[in-house]
């Protein structure tokens, strides 16, 4: 219900990729600013036209916003003309992170996961109907998936991290999330329809951890465990990605156990506010 914008009449097909329709009230330039920042974050680095496309803005408008944001230090521009998140966001983020100390506490657990399993490990956070990848720790295994990267936003339900979180939500919230992400999921392919997601969610409810059997990129598998914030909500996730052959039983079971253990320790750390040993 937090970000549930009312949809007037039928879902009018968006012309391009314009996703957000947060024009609830007041200043909508703010919404565009947020969309631009998120688009740059998700891309890591992007050109003006790419941002215009991914936000649904016209190119002149995107250009004006981008330059204005860069003028404020919220964005940087590298030599080639690509945009990236700026220093000012580091400063604001550092202050904001005090109220949400999750990442600092997560880093050691992430490292431990990567070391123990040899796969690449990720820390992600839920916000609204999306899951944002926040940090990556490389594993030692030389074949690595680069589907996920810091800043990437995916709707709940398409990656293992989002699935793990979905699996710990009560039915009502699960249905709401499915409804809210339905359109975006369908754009990512038929393998993300409700039936498939529900199947993977039931797996989470049975085993505690989630499995993404190559649903985003063929052969790139993922597993995740939900992490609970101080109020007991599944707000974060720890996940592992790698190639199919390393995510089959019985190794699958070992990985699941390792994920659950670190997720549990991290949840405890978040609850007590103190880093675990």
């Amino acid at each position: 219900m937090a970000g549930a914008a009312e949809q007037p009449g039928g879902a009018e097909l968006a012309p391009s990729t314009s996703s957000r329709a947060t024009a609830t009230s007041g200043t909508q330039v703010v919404g565009r600013v947020a969309a631009v920042l998120q688009a740059v974050a998700a891309a890591g680095t992007a050109r003006t036209a790419e941002i215009a496309r991914s936000t649904g803005l016209t190119r002149p408008t995107a250009h004006r916003l981008l330059t204005a944001l860069a003028h404020e230090g919220l964005l940087d521009r590298d030599g080639t003309g690509s945009w990236a998140l700026g220093f000012e966001l580091t400063l604001l983020g550092a202050v904001a992170a005090q109220r949400y100390p999750a990442q600092d506490l997560a880093t050691p657990h992430l490292r431990r996961l990567a070391e123990a399993t040899g796969e690449s490990a990720f820390f992600s956070a839920r916000r609204g109907d999306e899951v944002i990848c926040l940090e990556r720790a490389e594993g030692s295994f030389p074949v690595r998936s680069h589907v996920l990267h810091e800043g990437l936003r995916l709707p709940l339900g398409v990656a293992s991290a989002g699935l793990a979180i979905l699996g710990h939500l009560p039915d009502e919230q699960l249905e709401a999330a499915l409804a809210a992400t339905r359109e975006r999921r369908s754009q990512l392919g038929p393998q993300h329809d409700d039936a498939h997601v529900r199947h993977l969610v039931s797996h989470v409810r049975e085993h505690g951890w989630s499995l993404n059997p190559g649903r985003i990129v063929e052969g790139s598998w993922g597993m995740a465990a939900a992490v609970f914030d101080a109020s007991g909500q599944p707000r974060y996730a720890l996940s592992l990605t790698g190639i199919e052959s390393r995510f089959r039983p019985p190794r699958q079971h070992q990985l699941g156990t390792a994920l659950l253990e670190q997720a549990h320790r991290l949840s405890t750390a978040l609850r007590t506010g103190r880093a675990a040993s």
Copy 2:
């Protein structure tokens, strides 16, 4: 030259505290958004009217921006109606911090300083003509100064961190910074005029570290050492604060040495990209 806005005619006395006049080109709503975010960050938590005052916006306008930003998750609103930085800023900041990994590397050095000296230690960053306090580590000594806190922005030259950075700038940049901060410094009191700042800067150039002998709040002293980024610029600072009696010689000399040592190690870590031992 980065943020040097041209001043039309005489410096028309600002009615309230309106500081920034970044209306160089394009969208100026973006400038207001940035100002609001910075104001909230600096206050930690603030009411609508306070933000309106500190940004120079009218209250309805501030209110609209604040609610719009909260709608995007960039701000939160607690039960009492106060605003604080939101979760979305944590996410954006985490991605942005990858390109500026200073804080992660600074934390252990900060802790070490606080432990070794018993005073509270701070990590700050320069941006434009300001220094922003980013992280605090409490010392063991029971009398602590709370003048500095995370998010606070001060013009270069009024606190020990800014002084340490000023002292490592070439003359030309020093003069530019003095000119750019002159008005704001004068608002903070006559003890921050050019002559006094120059005197403290010369101290930095002689000893390597800076000393703020209670220039912001009487009896609250500070010392700092500059930290250099990968390109060799003095972009950050480590500092200590405490009561006057603990910042006199010969202890002053010990504190300065400790600051310089940690600052040097941190600078090395920033240059090599790897955390020091």
